[in-house]
């Protein structure tokens, strides 16, 4: 197998993720797109780990998964809060924060 096939696939996923982040208006869907991006990164990490024949990539992939879990948790909590306050999770309607 070629290293590149994994990397290119990851690149494609990444771009789809970026597309999603840029175009989605629904908060939950934006978070999902972020997940795509993170997974693309993970594929890269593991593929490079295999390429260099060590486990560093794997270890970091695990970390990324853990952080992603945290991110989704907090992110969804914020979306919920937003929904509760505004009855909408349309990102384009988000006003600036005020202290």
């Amino acid at each position: 197998m070629l290293l590149n096939q994994f990397l290119l696939l990851a690149a494609a996923l990444f771009c789809l993720g970026v597309y999603g982040v840029l175009t989605r208006r629904n908060g939950v869907l934006v978070l999902m797109s972020v997940e795509l991006i993170l997974n693309a990164v993970n594929i890269n990490l593991v593929a490079f780990g295999a390429f260099q024949d060590n486990v560093v990539g794997d270890v970091f992939a695990v970390f990324v998964i853990a952080v992603a879990a945290a991110e989704v948790g907090v992110g969804l909590a914020m979306v919920l809060l937003m929904y509760r306050n505004r009855k909408s999770i349309d990102f384009t309607e988000v006003d600036m924060m005020r202290g």
Binding site: A11, L13, L16, M32, N39, V55, A69, A70, V72
Partner: protein, 242 residues
């Protein structure tokens, strides 16, 4: 190559290049499914569908991990993502009372721009990758030592490569005879053959990962755990009703 190799070990006759072909076919199928699902995830107007497409992508990623020989990460991926995160997403969808059917309002009309950026990004990254790595092969290096617990086996159950590799041990024995391969003999085998020895326990790189995490990367690991705790508390604080 580990798990797949074991699957392949049932097909004793498969050569290395044939294994490669099998892997490539598997990759191609997974990749196609993933790309399609990912595309749907970011384009579908149905929020629940998007989540379900995401599941497929995540599963595909897990499959790729396994294909790359990282069983542990693959398993983690399945557990954490498919098991937990997706459920979270679904909860999120339910709690925000998203329309279960199509909801055109999820999509902004900035699609053209997003597509432009995405394609631009893809072209640049693709060019960079092709330019840099061209035909770099994934060589799965020297596999890790395989643990072996000497046990009695019936000669008939021993695969041919092992029989051929240890002619002295099996000399003059019939198929029904029982024999114990000594640790020394096992050690003398090449790893490819070692895997075929009945009773040999094949490990992935899980052991190494464990070593790494708990020695070299102990600080980041602790940091991640604190982060998770913080995220937990944070999520509660943010989401709770006053």
């Amino acid at each position: 190559m580990t798990l797949l190799a074991q699957v392949a070990s049932d097909f004793n006759e498969l050569t290395s290049s044939e294994v490669d072909i099998a892997q490539n076919i598997a990759f191609g199928m997974i990749a196609a499914v993933m790309l399609f699902s990912a595309f749907r995830t970011v384009t579908t107007a149905n929020v629940v569908h998007a989540a379900l497409y995401l599941v497929i992508v995540l599963a595909g990623v897990a499959a790729l991990f396994i294909l790359l020989g990282s069983d542990f990460v693959g398993a983690t991926q399945v557990l954490v993502y498919i098991g937990a995160i997706i459920v979270l997403f679904l909860f999120g969808i339910m709690l925000t009372k998203a329309r279960l059917g199509d909801d055109e309002s999820v999509e902004s009309e900035r699609r053209g721009m997003g597509a432009l950026v995405g394609i631009l990004l893809l072209v640049v990254m693709g060019y960079a990758l092709v330019d840099t790595f061209e035909n770099a092969e994934l060589t799965f290096g020297e596999p890790e030592p395989i643990a072996y617990v000497p046990t009695e086996v019936t000669v008939g159950d021993v695969p041919t490569p092992v029989l051929e590799a240890l002619p002295d041990v099996f000399a003059g024995l019939g198929d029904d005879d029982e024999v114990t391969i000594s640790q020394a003999d096992f050690d003398s085998l090449v790893p490819e053959v070692q895997r075929r020895v009945p009773g040999a326990e094949v490990f992935g790189n899980n052991k190494q990962i464990a070593d790494s995490i708990f020695s070299q990367y102990i600080v980041p690991f602790e940091a991640v755990s604190v982060l998770l705790l913080a995220a937990l508390i944070g999520a509660i604080v943010v989401a709770r009703k006053e």
